[in-house]
C-alpha cells in the first residue's frame, strides 16, 4: 500500500497557510537562499538529478528544459509559470495557489536564478478571482520582504515578478498560445520550432513550467535530489498531487508518490459512492483516453498509464459510476473542445464542429452504427493533423469510449434515445438514496 507524502500540501490545514509568515514558519524561503549561494548551473543540475518532470501534463524533464536556455547570449531570459489550469477534471494548482502561493514564488525565484531570468510571469486563468487575490498579495509581500525586485535577498540578483490574469481560453494552457496571449495577442499556438527555449516570450529564451513543477523545486533544493528521487517509480520520480473527483465517497487532493494506483487512491477516499461501481474514469483529464475498472491497478506514473493506452496528464482522476451515460459524458467534453478550439487550424475548428453534431444525434438515438465508424474516421483525420494537441485531445474521449462502450452507443440507437436517467447520476440522487 502506497503511503501519502504531503509535501506541497503539508501545511494547507493551517488557517493562515497562504501568508508569508506561515510559509516561513515551516522553513519557507530557506531553499532559495541556499540556491542563491550556488552557481546557477548547479541548481539546474540538482533539478535534473531529482528527475522532476513537468506536472502540466506532458511530463518533460524540468531540469532539461532549464538546461536548453542558451547562456551568455546577452538576451533577456524569461520564466513563465503556466497557472492556466483548465483541463476538465484538473484542479490541483488552484487549491495549491489558494493555500500556499509562496511556495510557487520561492520556486520561481530559484528557477529564474537558474536560467538567468530577470523577469518572471505567472499566467493564471481569470476565472478564479480569490486565487488571483492570494497570489497578488503573496507577490506584494515577497516584494516587501526583499525577495523580489532589485537585489533580492541582499544579493546582486534582480527579479521582477508579474501576475498576468487570463480571460477565459482553455487553449492558453498550451505553452505557445500562452506566450502569444501574454504578449497581448489572441491566444493561438505558435509554430514550433523555434521552441520557447530559443525564442519564447518576446522572441527571447523562455522557460514555461507548470505551477506544480515549479512549486516542487524548493523542496528539492531544501532536501536534495536524492530525497525527491527516492519517491516514485523508475522514470517517474517524486511526489505529486492526484485530484480525485466524481462519483466517489470523498473527493479531494491526494499527494502521493508517482505510481500509486487508482485502487489505492479510491481505498483512501472511501471508494466509489455507496451502492455504485466504477464505470469509466480519466487518468489525467478529459484529453487522456478513458480507462475502465480494468485499469484500477495501472500504476499512475508516466510510463504505466502510457503503457495502458492513455496518458498521465494532470493526474485528474474523474470517476464516473454506472449511472453515467458515456455518450452524454463524451458529448459534453466534445462540446467543450468545440467551444475552446482556437480556430487556427482546420481539423480542430471544423472537426469539433462536426463531431458535436454527430454525437448529439447519437445521444438522441438518431443515426446508424455506421456513424460510429464515421466518428472514428473523423477522429483519425483530426488526431495528429491539428496544429496543436487540443485537437488530439478532443478525439481521446471519443475513440476510447467507442473502444470500451460501443454497445452503449448502439443502445442509444436501438432505444431511440438515451437509456439513462440523468437524475440518477447526480449527487442529489445519492443524497436522496442515503436519506431513504
Amino acid at each position: 500500500m502506497t503511503t501519502l507524502t504531503p509535501v506541497l500540501s503539508a501545511h494547507w490545514d493551517e488557517k493562515d497557510s497562504f501568508t508569508i509568515d506561515a510559509y516561513k514558519r515551516h522553513g519557507g524561503y530557506k531553499a532559495v537562499e541556499k540556491a542563491l549561494a550556488m552557481e546557477p548551473d548547479a541548481v539546474i543540475q540538482i533539478v535534473k538529478d531529482s528527475g522532476l518532470r513537468g506536472r502540466g501534463g506532458a511530463g518533460f524533464p524540468t531540469g532539461m528544459k532549464w538546461g536548453f536556455i542558451p547562456q551568455g547570449d546577452d538576451k533577456e531570459h524569461y520564466l513563465v509559470v503556466n497557472a492556466d489550469e483548465s483541463e476538465p477534471g484538473t484542479c490541483k494548482d488552484t487549491p495549491l495557489l489558494m493555500a500556499n502561493p509562496h511556495v510557487l514564488i520561492e520556486g520561481m525565484i530559484i528557477a529564474s536564478y537558474a536560467i538567468r531570468a530577470k523577469y518572471a510571469f505567472i499566467y493564471i486563468r481569470g476565472e478564479v478571482t480569490h486565487v488571483v487575490r492570494r497570489v497578488q498579495q503573496a507577490i506584494e509581500d515577497a516584494y516587501k520582504a526583499g525577495y523580489l525586485g532589485k537585489g533580492i535577498f541582499k544579493t546582486e540578483t534582480d527579479l521582477e515578478l508579474v501576475l498576468h490574469v487570463g480571460a477565459g481560453a482553455y487553449i492558453c494552457g498550451e505553452e505557445t498560445a500562452l506566450l502569444d496571449s501574454l504578449e497581448g495577442f489572441r491566444g493561438q499556438p505558435r509554430l514550433r520550432p523555434p521552441f520557447p527555449a530559443i525564442a519564447g516570450l518576446y522572441a527571447r529564451p523562455t522557460v514555461v513550467n507548470n505551477v506544480e513543477s515549479i512549486a516542487s523545486v524548493p523542496s528539492i533544493i531544501a532536501n536534495g535530489a536524492e530525497w525527491f528521487s527516492s519517491m516514485g517509480t523508475e522514470k517517474s520520480k517524486g511526489m505529486t498531487l492526484y485530484s480525485l473527483s466524481g462519483h466517489v465517497t470523498r473527493p479531494g487532493q491526494f499527494e502521493a508518490p508517482l505510481g500509486i494506483t487508482l485502487r489505492e487512491v479510491l481505498e483512501l477516499a472511501g471508494g466509489v459512492r455507496a451502492g455504485h461501481e466504477i464505470k469509466f474514469w480519466t487518468p489525467g483529464g478529459s484529453s487522456t483516453p478513458l480507462f475502465t475498472a480494468a485499469h484500477l491497478d495501472t500504476p499512475l506514473d508516466y510510463e504505466g498509464v502510457a503503457a495502458a493506452g492513455s496518458m498521465l496528464g494532470t493526474k485528474a482522476l474523474q470517476i464516473f459510476d454506472e449511472t453515467t451515460c458515456v455518450v452524454r459524458a463524451v458529448l459534453r467534453w466534445t462540446e467543450f473542445y468545440k467551444h475552446e478550439s482556437c480556430g487556427k487550424c482546420t481539423p480542430c475548428r471544423e472537426g469539433t464542429w462536426w463531431l458535436v453534431q454527430i454525437l448529439r444525434d447519437l445521444e438522441n438515438g438518431k443515426g446508424t452504427a455506421a456513424d460510429l465508424d464515421k466518428l472514428l474516421d473523423l477522429c483519425e483525420n483530426i488526431l495528429g493533423r491539428s496544429f496543436c494537441a487540443l485537437g488530439d485531445g478532443a478525439t481521446s474521449p471519443i475513440t476510447s469510449s467507442i473502444q470500451y462502450f460501443r454497445d452503449e452507443y448502439i443502445a442509444h440507437l436501438t432505444n431511440g434515445g438515451c437509456p439513462f436517467d440523468p437524475r440518477a447520476a447526480t449527487l442529489f440522487a445519492t443524497a436522496g438514496v442515503d436519506a431513504k
Binding site: 494547507w12 488557517k15 476565472e127 508579474v162 491526494f254
Partner: protein, 210 residues
Amino acid sequence: MAYNEEDLVIMDSIIARYPRSRSAIMPLLHFVQSKDGFVTSDGIETLAIKLGLATAEVSAVATFYTQYKRKPVGEYHVGVCTNTLCAVMGGDEIFAALKEHLDLENDGVTADGKVSLEHLECNAACDYAPVVMANWEFYDNQTVESAKALVDGARQGNPPAPTRGPNALPTWKENSAVLAGLNDGHAFEGVQAGEPSLLGLEISKKAGKS
C-alpha cells in the same frame, strides 16, 4: 472619453508592469470591465491609443476570450459549470433550474440588471462538484436550492458569501479590478482551503498517528 485622469494613471501603471506595452492589453480589458461593466467601444478605442494599436487589433483580442463581455452583464454574473463532471453530478439540473427560476436563457440578464447567467466550462474545482461561480468566486458543492438562494440573494443585493473567497461577494466590476491586478485587500479573507483540498493531508496525518 469615458475615463477620468485617475483611470488613465492606473492604465499607465498597468502598462508599466510589462517589458512591452502590448502585453498589458488583457489586464487593461479587465480594467475596462471594472469601469464600464463590459468591453465598450470607449474601452477599445482608449486601449488602441494607449498601446499604439489599431482598434481592430484590440477588438481581435477582446473577442477571443470569453470573460470579456460584449454587452452588459449583471452586477452578479453567475456561471454554472456544465462540463461533463459537474453536469453529470448536478450542474445540468442546477443550470436548468436557474434558467427557469430567473426566466433567462444562457447569457441572459435579469431585467433589473442584478443577475446574469451563463454555463461554464471546467473551473478547476472538480473535487467540489457541482460548482457554481458568481463574479468568478467559488460556490462549491451546490444544489438546486443553494444556487437559487445565491441568485435570490444577489437580486436583493445580499448574496451569500462564497465558499472559498472573500467574506462578502464583490460586484462584477469590483472583481474585474482584481483581475486587472489591482489588490482589493480581501486576500486574507476566507478559508485557506476547503475540505476536499485537505483530504489527503488529513488521511496522511491520521495514518501517521496510528
